[in-house]
Symmetry: C2
């Protein structure tokens, strides 16, 4: 049979149920899909491929899914570090956003983020920011899969005036993007403290009708919870539950300071948790007890958050931090093993985003969203277990090749859809502007 | 004046008091020492250098000091992960050590560790393991600075029979290494639960006499503390204090589960803490409250621990984890800023090891232990603050050049004193042996 692409690899790690690692296997890709997985020695008999890619020292994995980003905040990477949260927001991030936020900022910042993500093996990101139309446009342009948040906030920003106009613009954008193969949309009400009940109820109704996921910050800090409790005698979780939002359509981002009752409720309602360990540490927001949550059966995905509070979009690093931190927080060295965080960074993300029928594992019939990691590097030797080395020892620089829907976006470390020199020039211009605020 | 080497860099970060970053400066190196630091445009007028190295997009820093390693355990990287501590030790690490520990293991494992460390910008490591003679020999051979632990344990191992013979072998090795420029030695009683009072008292006496530092695991786990308290009604810290060991000559490694009284005692005695955040997380040992300890005036250095419980010897990554974790543990996003962890990884390490007159900062008169980090990489753009980007965003692959005592060990990412292909072959042979236990 004639096919587009045969990738022959030392190891193939599909991240399906059972968590098998296949040695010396080939992934067969035709059009934009995975159509077979078989031993290398049978692959060239069965298939005549336009391209045969030989990666004998590499592991193939499903592309990583960064389930919580503010992509264009990359332009503010390191602009203000080591500050208390409110000082950081009120005196640095918000004034910069106020002054500089426009379509060009989001375009160039999203490009920087997309370039960094592709170079680090991320094939899909779940974004929430101003000008989601521009973020979608840049994702389509550069061939990366994206879940675009239709942001809603009570107060006026550069993107919209009030909750009605956010909804209107969001719905129009959803309509406009409906037939884009790589793009899905979600409702993205910013946070409990920035969105009131009425728009949340509307979002609930529209999300059901249009079958869209909802992407929202929730229980990020102790302050958020105390503040809400003072005002309404409810925690933000309780309030959202009362509004009917907690469900398998809901992605709750951060979820620090949750107790056993919260965990029970999250599990019962099928709500997804998006865990952002490095951002939670950097902003001293608290710890999400993911070992407990996993035990309760909650689907947990992984996100970096924006680069201004991380300061990278490195999902390999985020997996390592998630695995290490979970052991420390739970006091159990066997908690959240390597394969579990790998699932959080792939198939669990796809489930949370509602796209696990499309991506998240190297399964026959799914989109060819595939990455290759070179394990023949001193830092990942000896190689007793590829999954362990990928999570605990590999760097994102070991990601050599990336495909999204069968299209190669990274070829032996070279980006195919972005020009690094151009991008660096644009970024340095933004740096000069932002620094002189 | 004629000199050996002029390194002209975009930024020079000396890590001295005051934490100034110099832009477009040159470091002047003659024989094995730093003899000047001045603006680039003056450097070529004042000095005629045999070699001029131009690194306009790079930051120069003092070489990183990994203050706690078991270097040759690199051969056990990833051999057994995600296990409870005692299962990991008793059923995996100790049986492997029992079966395979010999001079060849330590030679090849130390080489693997040294190669990884140099590639990651580490110029000095503080080691504790069997066959310290071999570790010293390999460090000398490859030109890296090392502090070699003269290990002492109560029970017999491949290295010695009983505490007397450990002491004898240790003292002989100290004598033998006394005139090696790159090597210092420390007494390395393994841990409170493996070394009894008599040898500890002897170590105390000899350390004073010979002016050697003492390097010891202390308060690594809750179990260690409880066990000791049951036996002696003292915590391990109290016991060591009673024996007179806590002092500026003492490096206490790990120090989780310490309370305010412990912190006061550590501060009063001038004892150094070696913080190993990734190992403490991975083995679920607990958290060292470093923000509090720094506030109390304690000198804190940074170590990776062995690669079997980390799983890398990446000091850039360890700095990031230390800074992030300290914020999470203290609940303060402004705790342990980037410059503070950079000090922990350089000058504080030198102080703990008793070699801050030799190394640990880019100060005139000190040894030319220097590293260059390329910041002109997408992942560290924009570049508002080099120190922030180095700690929070850079990867160790951005380390391009490394010098120890003026000798270049890494040249544009190429190791000059180790052959990677040979090393990989040896490592893969060990992998085959260890896996079939």
């Amino acid at each position: 049979m004639k096919v587009d692409l045969l990738i022959q690899a030392g190891w193939v790690i599909p991240v399906e149920e059972g968590s098998v690692t296949h040695k010396n296997h080939a992934l067969v890709i035709h059009n934009d899909k995975i159509i077979d997985l078989l031993p290398i020695d049978q692959s060239e008999q069965k298939y005549q491929a336009k391209t045969v890619k030989k990666l004998p020292n590499h592991a193939l994995l499903p592309g990583l899914i960064n389930s919580h980003t503010h992509a264009s905040m990359s332009l503010m990477r390191g602009v203000a570090d080591d500050l208390p949260l409110m000082d950081w927001l009120q005196n640095h991030i918000w004034p910069l956003e106020q002054k500089w936020m426009n379509e060009a900022f989001v375009r160039d910042g999203t490009d920087l983020a997309i370039a960094e993500m592709i170079r680090g093996g991320t094939t899909c990101f779940n974004d929430m920011y101003y000008f989601p139309d521009i973020a979608a446009q840049q994702a389509i342009k550069h061939g990366i899969r994206a879940s675009i948040g239709l942001i809603v906030i009570d107060f006026p920003t550069v993107w919209a005036e009030n909750s009605e106009s956010y909804m209107e613009k969001g719905l129009a954008l959803h309509e406009q993007l409906r037939h884009q193969a790589l793009i899905t949309t979600t409702f993205a009400p910013h946070a409990p403290y920035t969105v009131s009940d009425e728009p949340l109820s509307k979002i609930h109704t529209f999300a059901n009708e249009l079958e869209l996921q909802i992407h929202m910050h929730l229980h990020e800090t102790e302050h958020e919870i105390q503040d809400q409790q003072q005002k309404t005698k409810q925690t933000p979780i309780q309030r959202l539950h009362q509004l009917g939002l907690l469900s398998p359509s809901f992605m709750a981002v951060h979820m620090t300071q949750i107790d056993d009752n919260d965990i029970k409720l999250i599990a019962q309602t099928g709500t997804h948790i998006i865990h952002c360990p490095e951002s939670n540490l950097k902003l001293a927001s608290g710890f999400c007890p993911i070992a407990k949550c996993l035990e309760a059966g909650i689907n947990i995905a992984l996100g970096t958050d924006g680069a201004a509070s991380n300061n990278d979009l490195d999902m390999l690093g985020e997996m390592r931090t998630a695995a290490l931190l979970a052991k420390g927080v739970s006091g159990d060295a066997s908690a959240v093993p390597a394969i579990t965080v790998l699932k959080m960074a792939t198939i669990n993300g796809a489930k949370a985003l509602g796209i696990d029928h499309l991506t998240g594992s190297l399964s026959i019939g799914k989109s060819a969203d595939v990455i290759a990691i070179d394990l023949d590097v001193l830092e990942t030797q000896p190689l007793y277990d590829p999954i362990s080395q990928i999570v605990y020892a590999a760097s994102r620089q070991q990601v050599t090749d990336v495909w999204v829907a069968g299209k190669q976006l990274l070829n032996n470390r070279e980006l195919t859809t972005l020009n690094i020199a151009d991008l660096k020039l644009k970024v340095s211009e933004w740096q000069k502007r932002l620094k002189t605020v």
